[in-house]
Symmetry: C3
Subunit: 385 residues, 3 copies
């Protein structure tokens, strides 16, 4: 009997320990695999930042060189600054997973590039660097309040914004508007933005790169089991916005504007951000259609009207691609996400609006102290031929 | 002894249940991981659809804006229509895996873009929307017959076409030919397609994006353990086709045509489709070389001859990039795939040819009812400067 | 008691075998999953080879068609030749994992494209094919000596060069210099490279594609658990180099040169190669800053000086983007990688310098036998309009 006893114990040990060891090794590998999968999405986002945002801004014919160089510089300052501030742990604690931190830094860069679009062609290169250095801490401060329970205002997980309609898109656009307040010269109001068929093709390239990688942007930090539904929602929202943009541009302008197609088609991705992991496919396509129509209406009707009223120029129209559709997406979450407290959602949106406008205006004041332009920027000022 | 007995049972339970639980969790995560890996390939295909097909068509200098806008619209109608039809379950049952459905919808979009290449510059934007709405159901009908045993004609798994040489490439090209039958104006036959060094560079960009993501296209739905061999086959076929294209274009034209390089180099990817997961590396490179040579021969010799004979214009020459190499690839399967019934393969090819030409011709009739052109299209008709 | 005995044995068998089976299946799937993850990085590298290197070379306005066609041809010859030589097992034994082999073949292609940059615009297409056929065996010979203990000179694992600063970048650049020795015409020394704002935008596109996929290049063969730290290091090095390039170009030229931005920003990726999986984030950013400054200094100061002294033209300035930063990165490993023998590292670097210059010079002699130019190349020589 003793022998059986020991045999039994041995059987128990061997049978549990051996697979358990294998399992542990498996779990480690598993976590690496999940990190590498996030990394793939991080690279997709990098393609959006450089090629996407960069070339979308090349629609202004005469700012080709400066828009692309500024994109390079903004990304290259934003990412290290974000990671550096995080690693000091000033705002809450840094995420354990280094790839998550990289993705959050990319989100901040996207928001900064949106902001820069509002003042494109009015800053010299060194001012873009200053803009980056001022923007990132403000962005992180808002991110901390809205998503990480900063000051205890909004409990963690109570604000729906997975793909960043509010904290990335609306924040960047409104901050840019704040900066633009101090930066518009009278000449700019009179001179129209010049495009040609070459700059149109480059900006459609940027637009397409943004469109196609958008699902990775929205699902970057979503758990793997929710990725498929999230990406299909994002794609349906983009499809809806693209068709709605075509119909709206034809109805409102009689002719198709490449600028509308290149920009407003993306509004579906902006607006689905807050609800990308909660919406049904039908809700996703409806949000996309509404966002595309709203954005086109913004470019065709609101932009020229507002420019006349407030006498400020938003060069790339970021208010109509990122601002309004972002706010719309944030509000849509109240109808789409089950169990979401409307109060917290509205509170978060209002805080973001206030913070972005105020900090943007202050940043603009500081940057204009480095040099405020009387005449519009031309590439040849700073670039060798 | 009873104690031992119980201990033994306990050992059995603990030792099996604990790892089994772990295993179950592992399997769920595993299936998410596999889905996310398919998603990466789905995004690669999206890059092919928008940037690849879109910019490849920009070789026609004066259709830059319309070709890219049409690409946006075609993809944005095709994907929701495909997913919608599938979700009603009209043709068989919808796949359980939502990412598989997305990839199938992308395949349908690729076929539609190929089809649109045949009539590029002869449709107004709204006609492209109509084309998309007519094409997708026809494509799905053929897909159902060939791959899902529709009408019980071809048993599932008996038709080799993993990467879609027949159901995607040949179907799209021949459907396009059918549409083109009703759409060519006499003026078009007289006016040559204009390119310049800028449109050439854009079209090479599109070509390169197609080339480099082609392995993901062919391996999108292949099980993970076959992905490595499949992608190496596709790359070898593309390498073979590229070198063969260079040699053929020099031999046949004396000078290098950028159009040949940008198009015929891709024929290797088209032709390897049917056999990408079965071929040996040597077979893959041979198929690629033959496809590149055949495609170049098509562009240089058959295209001008056929255009004179049938008096119809295939704007992008999709017959020579997708049609002939696709059919070649489908036939090659009979020699490459072990145990394949040649009869079923030939039957499937013939059904695809018949269905695509007939439905394409009917679609052309419907679309030309919306408006048939007397003079060739120019971007400025529909696009604001 | 016997019953208990048997029950115990059964418990042992069932409890170990069942999970073990599951585990085995899991491990098989796991290895496929890891292969597919490497494949994703292989595709990213392919984007660098075609779109990245291809369009970066389009900065020379008049070589648009030829630079892109040459890129296509060089990649399409290099990959099959590399795989073919490997499969014969001439140099050591072929890797078991087919995806690893593909990635190694892509590394060789990258090195070849770097080499071709040095003589861009001086070879006819058939000479590029010859260059590819001569380069790959020489590259593999050096790779075998440095990394696979060829002739027993450097023990495996004693030379730090994960991302290929030395064996890929420096080898390619110096081989290209060797070829250029025989290829420069007196006219070329007098005629400046022409760019315009369109070729500038295309070359920034190439540069951005290289920049954004560089983390995948460096981490392609790194084990999954090291991928996150590696990619963050590469991104930080690139950010550092980009900012340093902007500051250096402004300080050295007074104006910003798009050529500097497009090229020297990438020097961070070149230099971090040897140490990407060992450096701390701070070390990575320092290496990047130094590489960006060194590379810009090379383009602004060394290039025109050396061209006057040795009367040879390095068309794309590969010495200053890949050569010097690569050597710097290789030397940096001695300070960064713990436990690295400085002797082996220096030995490997010196062997690579010697081998690349000598084999490059010989290859140049052979290629110039096929045809040495008296006047600079123009696209229209070989390309149909």
């Amino acid at each position: 009997m003793k022998k059986t006893h020991w045999l039994c114990l041995l059987s128990f040990l061997v049978a549990t320990i051996i697979p358990a060891t294998g399992m542990c090794a498996g779990e480690d590998t598993m976590s690496s695999i999940l990190d590498v999968q996030k990394y793939d999405r991080a690279i997709h986002i990098m393609a959006m930042l450089l090629v996407g945002f960069g070339f979308l801004m090349v629609f202004v014919k005469k700012y080709g060189r400066s828009a692309l160089t500024a994109t390079f510089l903004l990304v290259s300052t934003a990412i290290p600054i974000y990671i550096c501030i995080n690693s000091f742990g000033w705002l809450g604690k840094a995420p354990d997973v280094i790839i998550d931190e990289l993705i959050l830094a990319e989100f901040a860069s996207a928001s900064l590039l949106i902001c820069a679009g509002a003042v494109l062609g009015r800053l010299k290169m060194q001012q873009y660097l200053a803009l980056g250095a001022l923007f990132i801490p403000c962005y992180m401060f808002n991110e901390w309040i809205i998503l990480e329970n900063g000051f205890g205002i909004i409990p963690v997980g109570r604000f729906a914004d997975t793909g960043g309609s509010i904290v990335i898109h609306a924040f960047g656009a409104l901050f840019g508007l704040g900066v633009a307040m101090t930066m518009t010269t009278p000449q700019e109001l009179r001179s129209a933005v010049e495009t040609d068929d070459i700059s149109d093709r480059f900006s459609l390239l940027g637009s397409m790169v943004l469109w196609l990688f958008w699902p990775s942007f929205c699902s970057a930090l979503v758990p793997p089991e929710l990725v498929p539904a999230t990406v299909v929602n994002v794609i349906l929202a983009l499809c809806g916005a693209t068709v709605a943009t075509y119909i709206s541009t034809v109805l409102l302008r009689r002719k198709i504007s490449v600028g509308d197609i290149a920009n407003a088609s993306l509004a579906g991705g902006v607006a689905i951000g807050s609800t990308c992991d909660h919406a049904t496919p039908v809700q996703a396509i409806v949000i996309g259609v509404l966002a595309g129509a709203l954005s086109t209406y913004g470019f065709v009707v609101i932009l020229p009207w507002l420019q006349k009223v407030i006498k400020k120029v938003d060069t790339c129209g970021v208010m109509y691609l990122h601002g309004l559709p972002g706010l719309m997406g944030g509000l849509a979450a109240m109808f789409v996400v089950k169990g979401l407290s409307g109060g917290e959602q509205v509170k978060g949106i209002l805080i973001t609006i206030a913070l972005s406008l105020v900090t943007g205006f202050l940043a603009g004041k500081i940057i204009s102290a480095i040099g405020r332009r009387a005449v519009p920027y031309v590439d040849s000022e700073e670039f060798a031929e």
